[in-house]
């Protein structure tokens, strides 16, 4: 970062320096711009899905039979439990109990991995029944949306792993990053709740 005298020598007014430095103050809010944007981007995908569902209602309903409600419900539960343990981890961190916070974060990652394994199993079962990406418009939406969602799950798992490392290391503990990672993971859960309703439950 530019030291003050160099900044002054570059002809920056005090206002401009202030403007440049102001980004610093916004660390906690950092993830929120991304989360709100992501929610709206996903909303645009959901609306596109609803439109196509309206146009090809029969095909969508018939193709929906290939999905297994049991898997969907199990995946939803896995993510809901992981959200619960993560919320508890944050509470433990605020209480200064970093041991419990570490275990709860690990539990969250565990449930996240359960989701990943279950989702991949579900995909392979569907593919083995001949239900693949190019089968029809519903399958395209289904594989694509769940694929983008699982990509977010992977990002979330990386963020949680980073959070776990920070919790373990007394020198790096930082509530702001913890809250960011947790918010991201809850958003992944939230999106899945909507995807579950749209793909599995709608008639």
């Amino acid at each position: 970062m530019a030291s003050p005298d160099i900044a002054a020598s570059l002809g920056l007014t005090a206002q401009e320096i202030d403007k440049a430095e102001r980004h610093e103050a916004n660390l906690v809010d950092g993830i929120w711009i991304f989360i709100v944007g992501d929610l709206f981007i996903f909303a645009s995908y959901f609306v596109t899905y609803a439109l196509w569902r309206n146009w090809e209602h029969g095909i969508f309903l018939a193709a929906q039979q290939h999905l297994s409600l049991g898997f969907g419900l199990f995946n939803t539960m896995a993510l809901l439990v992981s959200s619960w343990t993560l919320a508890a981890a944050l509470k433990a961190m605020r209480a200064g109990d970093f041991d419990a916070a570490g275990w709860l974060t690990l539990a969250t990652m565990g449930f996240g991995l359960v989701f990943v394994v279950s989702k991949i199993t579900e995909w392979s079962v569907e593919v083995s029944h001949g239900f693949v990406f190019t089968s029809n418009m519903f399958s395209q939406f289904y594989f694509w949306t769940t694929g983008v969602h699982i990509l977010h799950v992977f990002f979330g798992l990386l963020a949680l792993f980073r959070l776990y490392l920070e919790v373990k290391d007394p020198a790096c503990r930082n509530l702001a990053t913890a809250e960011s990672a947790a918010a991201f993971w809850h958003m992944v859960d939230l999106l899945w709740l909507v995807i579950f309703a749209l793909m599995y439950l709608m008639r």
């Binding site: 970062m1 002054a8 020598s9 440049a20 980004h23 950092g30 596109t48 196509w52 694509w144």
Partner: protein, 272 residues
């Protein structure tokens, strides 16, 4: 180089000349200005001159493909000529970012900067210029065998949408460096939004498989939503680079401290 630095003049062009001559970051500002210029040229070329964007239907039959290349033939070749003249500006943008990455505070920062430059410049060759050649060749002779025109047509859009890995890794590197950078050259929230940029490259992958619907290369999701998000992000990106260039130290230069001291009037001109 003798004499003290004159004060900044008021006229628009005089001001520009002053900055080119005396601003210690003159090269960075030149590179920065190339970004809005280059992206505007690209936007005009793609959307208004060549009609390459928004992409036409992937399910066109031979007769429609011939008609497309016949109708827009001259514009296509003119537009890509303009784009090819100005393409170096895009390289300036990439290398400005690569160089800014090298000024961040993370371990092995130079390797990250080189990796970014290589990835982004490499992607340009198939991601942006391949389509220029295939479109030009196709529109030169629309009376060619329609099957060959179809090959060129597919090659154009699939090379444009299908060059994913280079940009994926380039943006991934940039995202990681912004988030890991302890000097906060770029704000953290911008780093998070960079995730959209590289996720886009995953999202367009169905465009190389399906021919119609929202995931084809002219579909609602694979093209329109992606493009809207990308353009909004691009506007933010230009401003973020502006602040980063303002904040970063000038290039390491033996004469830098003297230059700066002279700018602030703390040092009388040194004998050459």
């Amino acid at each position: 180089m003798t004499g003290a630095v004159p004060p900044i003049p008021s006229g628009w062009f005089a001001k520009m000349a002053w900055h080119l001559r005396h601003n210690p970051k003159a090269d960075l500002w030149v590179a920065w200005f190339s970004i809005p210029i280059a992206y505007n040229i690209m936007g005009i070329v793609y959307f208004t001159i060549t009609h390459m964007m928004p992409p036409p239907d992937a399910t066109k039959n031979h007769a429609q493909i011939v008609e497309f290349f016949t109708k827009f033939g001259f514009e296509i070749r003119l537009g890509f000529g303009i784009m090819l003249v100005s393409l170096a500006f895009l390289v300036w943008a990439n290398d400005l970012i690569g160089w800014l990455i090298m000024k961040m505070d993370i371990p092995h920062v130079k390797a990250w900067g080189y990796a970014y430059m290589i990835a982004m410049c490499g992607g340009g060759f198939t991601g942006a210029y391949m389509s220029a050649f295939t479109m030009s060749v196709a529109s030169m002779r629309p009376d060619r065998d329609p099957a060959m025109l179809e090959v060129l047509y597919d090659l154009t859009y699939i090379s444009f949408d299908g060059t994913m890995g280079f940009f994926l890794f380039g943006s991934l590197i940039w995202t990681y460096t912004i988030l890991a950078d302890k000097s906060r050259l770029f704000p953290k929230w911008f780093g998070y939004t960079c995730i959209w940029n590289f996720t886009t490259e995953f999202l367009v992958s169905p465009a190389v498989i399906v021919h119609s619907g929202p995931f084809s290369w002219n579909g609602t999701i694979a093209f329109w939503i992606d493009t809207v998000v990308y353009i909004l992000w691009q506007i933010v990106y230009v401003f973020m680079l502006y602040y980063a260039v303002k904040r970063v130290d000038p290039p390491q230069d033996r004469f830098r401290l003297k230059r700066i001291a002279r700018l602030t009037g703390q040092l009388t001109p040194h004998p050459a």
